[in-house]
């Protein structure tokens, strides 16, 4: 069986989840040469409805293009977290936006305040998706940080490159802080 990695990005319409999925797919597909399929599911509302974007990355041609059991789940609101948490593959990674997800259904979830970071460190709420992408790549290693940065810069509107680079860095830093805090505690492995 070929290596197939499934990522689900979920939240509400307007948070930039579909763009985040496209960027992730381009990082893996165009910059790293993998097979990719990016799909989306959304409601008829322009903003505010449930929104979901999925990326499948594989070493061979992809048949079913959607996620069956996500290896990685990113949730940018409580509802998405509650809806999808139990779809995740056992041992999979759950990453949530601590700013918008007050209640964590599992202690294994990685909580990072993406929206807060975007607002305070980058200066714009709407870059929370890019902050989250940086953290996701740093936490999981699904795509290299170089590929991700190249993909981000190729997709975002001209003139916002610096801001997006800053957002990406902020996300990566937050993830690395989380990882070093985790290794400091000597948690039992099972």
């Amino acid at each position: 069986m070929a290596k197939r990695v499934e990522i689900r990005l979920a939240g509400s319409g307007g948070q930039g989840l579909i763009l985040a999925g496209v960027i992730l797919a381009e990082a893996a597909g165009i910059h790293e040469g993998k097979f990719v399929a990016q799909t989306q599911s959304y409601g008829p509302e322009a903003r505010g409805g449930a929104s979901k974007s999925e990326v499948v990355i594989s070493d061979e041609a992809i048949d079913y293009p959607k996620a069956v059991k996500p290896d990685v789940l990113l949730c940018l609101n409580q509802k998405a977290c509650d809806t999808y948490i139990f779809d995740v593959k056992p041992g999979g990674t759950v990453i949530v936006d601590e700013t918008l997800v007050p209640h964590l259904p599992t202690s294994r979830a990685v909580a990072i305040p993406f929206t807060h970071i975007a607002r305070e460190e980058v200066g714009r709420d709407m870059l929370a998706n890019i902050v989250a992408l940086g953290a996701l790549a740093a936490l999981t290693g699904i795509v290299s940080l170089e590929s991700l940065e190249a993909a981000v810069l190729a997709r975002v509107p001209r003139g916002t490159e610096e801001l997006n680079r800053k957002a990406l860095k902020a996300g990566i830093n937050a993830a690395q802080k989380h990882l070093s805090a985790k290794t400091a505690q000597t948690a039992p492995e099972w």
């Binding site: 797919a25 990719v36 990016q38 008829p44 992809i62 048949d63 079913y64 293009p65």
Partner: protein, 381 residues
């Protein structure tokens, strides 16, 4: 089928965007449409790309006018296309019939979403399969192709234009919300890698031109408006000169030719893709996005010792009966998973004639059938 994916750098494209690339590669230079989810990206990309190529993009007042506009453009010699979803496709039916009877080449994309009516705008369906066959009134032949991935969105759009030009007929491409919105990596071929077909034009002096004269292929050369080949275009049954007729000795040859030009080329028109069918004991017949789930399910069934095979329909109409029939006599059962209540299953059952057992798997909640749903049924067949 165009199989070579040679050269150039890969790009990440949606099915909808790949269709635009395919249309432009095939020589499409006119697009008229009215935006509708989940087909809007086709209009959007056309509105950006066509003017740069010297083509024309028009956003019409509705889908009735859109269909009329592409017929007019095609009569003027320009390869033309429109794209819509269920509600718009319903509005196009009347003029679609006009394109059939006046033998005007054009391509109509229907990105299927949940229906009836405005239904489920952002969710997937395969509910328009029989409408594509019989939506316009009157007895008529039609070519309908189905796409299941981004590459096919490109390649089969090229093919659709080629078929429409070769046979002077409208060709419908049925896509669906999942295929349309799935982004995949594709490598767009060099234009010279592609086979591009253009309609036959009259070579005789204009005064000798008989616009609807029968030929061995059944497809008369098409005079272009403005080239001096003047003729009458009507939705009424017409004689070889294009004028309305009610004479049985003219009606019958005309209608027979309309069907014959498609029927005698079934082998070329009817495209399917077979996967592990040679020794299959159970068969999945699927198309569109569902074919992708089915392929995965066939692999999973094989790994559990069930000899499953996939018969993927690319041409939905005319239904590829002759290719499917031998399988029906060979397998224990056929499963037809679809995002409707069994519109293709109905066709499989019709030609089955008791040869095997045909079962349906329907999903009508706007979500794609999963590989596991198909696998569960395959293991029980």
């Amino acid at each position: 089928m165009i199989n070579s994916q040679i050269m150039s750098h890969p790009v990440l494209l949606q099915g909808n965007e790949a269709m635009v690339e395919g249309a432009l590669a095939a020589g499409c230079r006119f697009f008229a449409g009215y935006p509708i989810t989940p087909a809007t990206e086709i209009s959007e990309a056309m509105s950006i790309k066509l003017p740069a190529l010297g083509g024309t993009f028009i956003q019409m007042e509705d889908e009735i006018a859109s269909m009329g506009a592409i017929i007019g453009a095609s009569l003027a010699g320009v390869k033309s296309m429109t794209a819509t979803s269920g509600p718009g496709f319903s509005l196009m039916q009347e003029n679609l019939g006009f394109a059939v009877i006046a033998e005007v080449p054009c391509v109509i994309v229907n990105v299927m979403r949940g229906g009836p009516s405005t239904g489920l705008p952002t969710h997937v369906s395969q509910g328009d399969v029989q409408q594509a066959r019989w939506g316009t009134h009157g007895d008529h032949p039609i070519i309908v192709l189905s796409v299941s991935d981004t590459w096919e969105c490109f390649a089969l759009t090229v093919k659709a234009f080629n078929l429409s030009e070769e046979f002077r007929t409208p060709v419908i491409i049925l896509s669906d919300e999942v295929v349309a919105h799935t982004r995949e990596k594709i490598i767009l071929p060099n234009p010279e890698e592609l086979e591009i077909v253009d309609r036959l034009k009259p070579t005789m002096p204009p005064e000798w031109y008989i616009p609807y004269e029968d030929t061995p292929r059944g497809v008369p050369p098409m005079g272009i408006f403005g080239d001096g080949y003047r003729y009458h275009v009507t939705g009424l049954i017409h004689d070889v000169r294009g004028f309305p007729t009610e004479r049985p000795d003219e009606i019958v040859p005309f209608m027979e030719r309309l069907f014959r030009k498609i029927n005698q080329h079934f082998a070329e028109i009817q495209m399917v893709e077979e996967y592990l069918t040679a020794d299959a004991e159970v068969l999945v017949a699927a198309y569109g996005a569902v074919a992708r789930s089915a392929k995965r399910a066939v692999d999973d069934a094989r790994s559990r010792g069930v000899k499953a095979g996939l018969f993927k329909l690319i041409t939905l109409w005319p239904f590829p009966r002759r290719v499917l029939e031998p399988h029906l006599r060979q397998v224990r059962a056929v499963l037809v998973p679809e995002l409707n209540k069994g519109q293709i299953a109905r066709e499989v059952k019709r030609i089955n004639q008791g040869a095997t057992r045909v079962e349906t798997l329907s999903r009508i909640d706007g979500r794609l059938i999963t590989p596991d749903e198909i696998l569960a049924r395959l293991l029980k067949l």
